[in-house]
């Protein structure tokens, strides 16, 4: 546990020692605002809730999270620091978890700075704050899911651009897997059970349940097991590729 925290701290330090953190935070907040007010028509809807804000989160994360995740392992491999890290008396699992938590804490910080919108909606009306809290939890969990996938893909290459582009592609599949764009491909030949399984992997579906204020154990289990699975693969990939 101690080692995980040490690595998490170093990674977080790495974000804030470079412009990465500030660029990301600014862009994230700008885009979140733009999406909410223009695309989500926050004012025009005339409702005191934040669904115009949260509905865009999967799409926002789709592009921004792979940008955080791409460097996690690709950079270590490119700079050779992975050799330094892996010859210290720590386990690979600790390194993977430490880095993942750092990225997750960082997205939590980004999410935290969206609080003015929460204040705004409370100033303008009487929103259901329970729903908002559950939406924030859902959003953070979903971000964890995207990050775990991104981290896993980052461990497959030493090239950050490749990690970014492939990361977006895979995250896209998970985002839309409940939508016709994916389901139509299978619906003509696959059995209904398979369709349901594919649809249940959808980030949007699982996230939307939580933005309705229902904290369903199934959604939480979905995201947590996805994170665990992706990080497990992450460990395997690094073990296989670290010397190449």
């Amino acid at each position: 546990m101690k080692n995980i925290i040490v690595i998490t701290k170093r990674e977080l330090y790495g974000y804030f020692a470079t412009p990465v953190a500030y660029v990301f935070l600014v862009i994230f907040l700008l885009l979140a605002g733009l999406f909410t007010f223009y695309l989500g028509s926050f004012y025009e809807r005339g409702q005191a809730d934040l669904s115009a804000f949260f509905d865009w989160h999967p799409w926002l994360y789709l592009f921004l999270i792979p940008a955080i995740a791409m460097r996690l392992w690709a950079e270590e491999r490119k700079n050779g620091t992975i050799e330094l890290l892996m010859t210290l008396p720590i386990t690979l699992m600790q390194a993977v978890l430490g880095k993942f938590f750092a990225a997750w804490v960082f997205t939590a910080i980004a999410l935290f700075f969206t609080f003015p919108i929460w204040i705004t909606v409370n100033y303008l009306g009487n929103p259901d704050n329970g729903v908002i809290v559950s939406s924030y939890c859902g959003s953070l969990l979903m971000a964890g899911g995207y990050l775990a996938i991104g981290s896993c893909i980052s461990s497959l290459t030493r090239n950050q651009v490749i990690a970014f582009v492939v990361g977006i592609a895979v995250c896209f599949l998970f985002t839309v897997s409940g939508m016709p764009i994916v389901l139509n491909f299978f619906s003509s030949w696959a059995p209904q059970a398979l369709l349901d399984t594919i649809a249940s992997f959808s980030f949007i579906t699982n996230f939307m349940d939580m933005t309705r204020g229902v904290i369903d154990l199934r959604n939480i289990i979905f995201f947590i097991s996805l994170i665990v699975g992706a990080l497990f693969l992450n460990v395997i990939f690094i073990n296989k590729n670290k010397g190449l």
Partner: protein
């Protein structure tokens, strides 16, 4: 015996990078790995430090197999990987503190050791500087500092003087000689004068195989001419027919 290497072999697909290398190394010995680029020196070191797992054969660190007991074995090793990779965005002090935190345990928990290493390598002036802004010589010294922080019994240095100016080379060699009495040290190099200057034993590796394991003086006697230098011997042994 601090290091026992038994019939170490590493294959990357059809390519055999290291073939059947065996040797023992005890306290007080400085072993120089010599060989042309691509001979397998780095791969051998990566297996000894536990970064790569061997295809066959094993490495025992104080009689512990590094594959079976990686954490206990790695505690006893200080390693400077090829090119001394470091986290460039960190300051020297923060970086050394980070390494210290990961090395820390019940028996090793006095952070004075950080300052001892800083003092030994003359890093006082650059403690608060970002590593990426340092000169090559300083970077290499930071790399060495993290390797000797925990006063390990075993030091493995992959081309520790590569890219340094003559004064810096001299400094690093002085440091190695200074520490050699109570440690087992392996350095790789293709600078032959270095072998003469610091090593008690020299091992020539070519095409993944160990050709020779002798003291530098014995190595000199292998020369065809009376006044052969180490350079001549090295060329005779590693060039083979085509080079003559």
């Amino acid at each position: 015996m601090l290091i026992k290497v038994n019939q170490l072999t590493k294959k990357f697909g059809p390519f055999t990078a290291v073939e059947n290398i065996s040797f023992n190394l005890d306290r007080g010995e400085v072993l120089g790995f010599l060989g042309p680029n691509g001979a397998g020196k780095t791969t051998t070191m990566r297996m000894i430090t536990g970064f790569l797992s061997p295809s066959s054969g094993d490495v025992l660190i104080s009689n512990l197999n590094i594959q079976e007991f990686p954490l206990s074995a790695k505690k006893q090793i200080g390693y400077v990987p090829e090119g001394a990779p470091l986290y460039g965005e960190m300051t020297v002090l923060n970086f050394l503190k980070f390494i210290f935190s990961l090395r820390k345990n019940e028996n090793f928990n006095d952070d004075k050791s950080i300052y001892i290493a800083i003092d030994k390598l003359g890093l006082e002036k650059v403690l608060y500087q970002q590593i990426e802004t340092l000169s090559k010589g300083y970077k290499r010294r930071v790399g060495l500092a993290q390797a000797i922080l925990h006063d390990p019994d075993i030091l493995i240095l992959d081309e520790p003087t590569d890219g340094l100016d003559p004064n810096q080379k001299h400094e690093v060699r002085r440091l190695i000689t200074e520490m050699s009495s109570d440690k087992a040290i392996i350095i790789s190099t293709h600078i032959l004068e270095e072998v003469d200057a610091v090593c008690t034993r020299a091992m020539i590796i070519s095409n993944g195989k160990m050709i020779i394991d002798k003291s530098p003086n014995e190595l000199l006697k292998l020369g065809k001419q009376k006044d052969s230098t180490l350079d001549d011997v090295f060329r005779e042994l590693t060039l083979g027919e085509e080079g003559l």
